[in-house]
Symmetry: C2
Subunit: 459 residues, 2 copies
């Protein structure tokens, strides 16, 4: 028994050294991927056999789950040393992610200045500019030359991966004056003042509480590699870099797609999330929508007499309801996305309504034409007998379709404004929510139209 355990340990040891040698020439992102497939014990052994610089690069990768696994599997002195070398934003992510008590144990072992730096970062909300920023950035006084700046970077900033721009400060007030990209810096002559190679415009900056979606908009609009986060005194607190922003944009996209599909955002990859966590995130919304949809049964009960006297009306209920849902879902997805991209603002709601009203009328008329043709063809060709008053039935279906599609387009386009106004993410389950709402109102519209048109004949 003891021998077998020994053997197994040896195996792990041999594997780790061999794997480390094999992986050493790979890109850190590929090494991380390979480590992710190993047991934490093996993975941390491989990590320990890699060159120092690569260790930090791997831990600085975007997979915080892997980083925390590796850190927890390492001897604590080693873990402390590596966490101190990690970029500050990634280390903060790690502490956001780790579970207690490992989290507190590790934090307590860090040097006081590292604790203070991480504490400042962790104080900001996770999805704000402050929560995304890193504190590794380069500032120089505006009195320096290009050559002095380059020498400073060469001598003191060797290890910083995130030098995309140099931030030029007023030597007295330490206020941010200009941002100089590396490209501009190296195209300057060494003896030129740094302000000579700075752009004319003021630096683009973010407030620490700015939401990550707004930071993404800044970075996209101004084609930035990094945006400095400044406080109310124009002092630089940190920078948000473009690679973190891409990760955030993709994460937002996934969350929006999932919310839009009618569930809570999973926050974890589909294959990795636990079965019951997934059920919870899906079952909650599914039940809420189900409870909402129960109102259709109430609506139907209300019209039960009409149903019994004109059973032919029931044949078209699914068709009419789904058309309202589809038109609402189109309008909602259009407007959510346009709002998210900043193409339209809250105050544009009436412009949107003025576009959706005629759109709905035209789209509804197209479907009405299709629906009425269907009934007419089936009736005349003898596929089905819709009864003596089939023309009135066709008219009812047509009129109801125009009304419901118009209503669906209007409600679908206005709901995102209402949600945004109320401070709720417009993507939250909105397509199924619109569909449910339109289903219930659609039934009422359908039967009301029927009572008007079929009054004195079928009803």
């Amino acid at each position: 028994m003891d021998e077998r355990t020994e053997d197994r340990r040896d195996d792990v040891f041999v594997d780790a050294a061999a794997l480390a040698a094999e992986l050493a020439e790979e890109h850190p992102a590929d090494i991380a991927e390979a480590l992710d497939e190993q047991e934490p014990k093996t993975a941390s052994a491989v990590l320990a056999s890699l060159p120092r610089e690569q260790q930090v690069e791997i831990l600085d990768g975007p997979d915080v789950d892997l980083t925390s696994e590796l850190i927890e599997a390492l001897p604590v002195e080693e873990a402390v040393r590596l966490v101190s070398d990690m970029s500050a934003d990634r280390a903060a992510d790690l502490f956001r992610w780790m579970d207690e008590p490992a989290r507190s144990h590790l934090f307590a072992r860090l040097a006081p200045e590292t604790q203070a730096e991480l504490g400042r970062l962790l104080a900001w909300p996770e999805h704000s500019a402050g929560g995304l920023m890193t504190t590794e950035f380069v500032t120089v006084p505006s009195s320096w030359t290009v050559g002095e700046t380059l020498r400073h970077i060469r001598e003191t900033e060797r290890t910083r991966e995130t030098i995309y721009a140099i931030y030029v400060l007023d030597p007295l007030s330490q206020k941010l004056l200009k941002a100089v990209t590396l490209r501009r810096l190296i195209t300057g002559e060494p003896e030129q003042p740094i302000l000579d190679v700075a752009p004319r415009h003021d630096p683009i900056t973010a407030d620490p509480l700015m939401d990550r979606e707004d930071v993404a908009r800044l970075i996209t609009k101004y084609d930035l590699l990094a945006v400095p986060v400044v406080d109310e005194n124009a002092h630089v607190l940190g920078i948000v870099t473009v690679d973190d922003m891409i990760d955030a944009i993709i994460e937002e996209g996934t969350e929006d797609a999932q919310k839009f599909g009618g569930m809570e955002a999973l926050d974890e990859p589909y294959m990795e999330i636990g079965f019951f966590s997934m059920l919870k995130k899906r079952g909650g919304w599914l039940s809420i929508l189900f409870l909402g949809e129960m109102l259709t049964a109430n609506a139907m009960q209300h019209f039960e007499d009409e149903l019994e006297s004109a059973i032919v009306l029931t044949l078209f209920i699914p068709l009419i309801m789904s058309s309202g849902g589809n038109s609402g879902s189109q309008a909602t997805s259009l407007i959510i996305r346009a709002l998210a991209l900043g193409e339209i603002k809250l105050k544009d709601w009436w412009r949107v309504a003025l576009r959706e009203l005629p759109s709905g009328l035209v789209l509804g008329s197209i479907l009405a034409a299709l629906g009425m043709t269907r009934i007419t063809v089936w009736q005349l060709a003898g596929f089905h007998d819709y009864g003596e008053y089939w023309m009135l039935v066709a008219a009812t279906v047509g009129a109801a379709l125009v009304a419901i599609v118009t209503f669906g387009s209007l409600i679908g386009s206005m709901l995102p404004f209402v949600l945004r106004r109320a401070g709720v993410d417009p993507a939250s389950a909105s397509a199924p929510f619109v569909a449910t709402f339109v289903d219930v109102t659609g039934l009422v519209i359908y039967f009301t139209v029927a009572m008007v048109i079929l009054n004195g004949t079928l009803l």
Copy 2:
């Protein structure tokens, strides 16, 4: 009359000069935004009054619609001069966008070498790495030192906005050996060979025909600012930069959201697309879904006898149908996103099926419990009378919900695999498509379950 025209021309002239002076200190992206709000004539007059460098920066912005408007409104010599100075990828975008005959007229006036360069870029498909790349990049032979490289950039590459990395080539074969980021370059000593500051791993490269979504995945995974596009001989053809990639990721997100909402991707902002173009993109899918949904009428007709003998069954049709649709839409949006992010591959379809089957059963059981409780409470509290066999009706609704939600989850999760396999974008209208499919089959399931459970009583 003549006098008024004169006056108006004067106004435009004064406006343009004043506006140019006012905007000169702004960021080019903000100037572009201001110009976008002006008439093309005024905007091009303002552009002409700005410093040369800013003119090119504005035209290099992401709004190709604005760029083409400005270029078309300028005198042709001026337009030719500016297009020659634009970055090659933006100029290629411009020619992709412009209408004939302006496009051909402008192209014919360009210098032969510019024509050849643009021709090479325009030959690649628009959404491929080749179609996105720009030809402004810096290569140096591997025999150079850091100092030589820096001097080369300073002397010859002043105007290139896209220097994110230096590509080191084999001096003989011109094959790409290493990619050196600017940061690594400036932290090296001037006399060091450039290969000394290169990373250990081989450069990450893209094939010119690689789809933009795959290029985005490379850039995200490896945290790159630019990825070199190389041919089969490892010769660098161009680079795709991170800012173009962000634009592409956001555009893909919008397209996916719109397709998912059940329409064709608009390709233009909601407020800018023409009314009839929008109707076409929405009406097409709406009609297709409507035609599909007509099958529900067929299904209902098929069960008309059952409907007449058990009108109570109709009350729950909308409830049951929408539950199937919602569960299908959840599963579909989860899987589409996981496929898009590469979290799951085509070959994982059976793993997904094995997760969705129990998920569907549990979710369906939850809804069944809710639905049966609703019927029981309403019956016992006297809110509504579901008849003598109300318990059997409740059982029918419950069993149908379990079956339909399970079926919806399975179909919804498998459809993206089928579409991807068939070479179709899984995002294409899939949620409404799944809902339509599940509506029709859901009705059949409902009535079949009813015939089994209610056989000999209501039916």
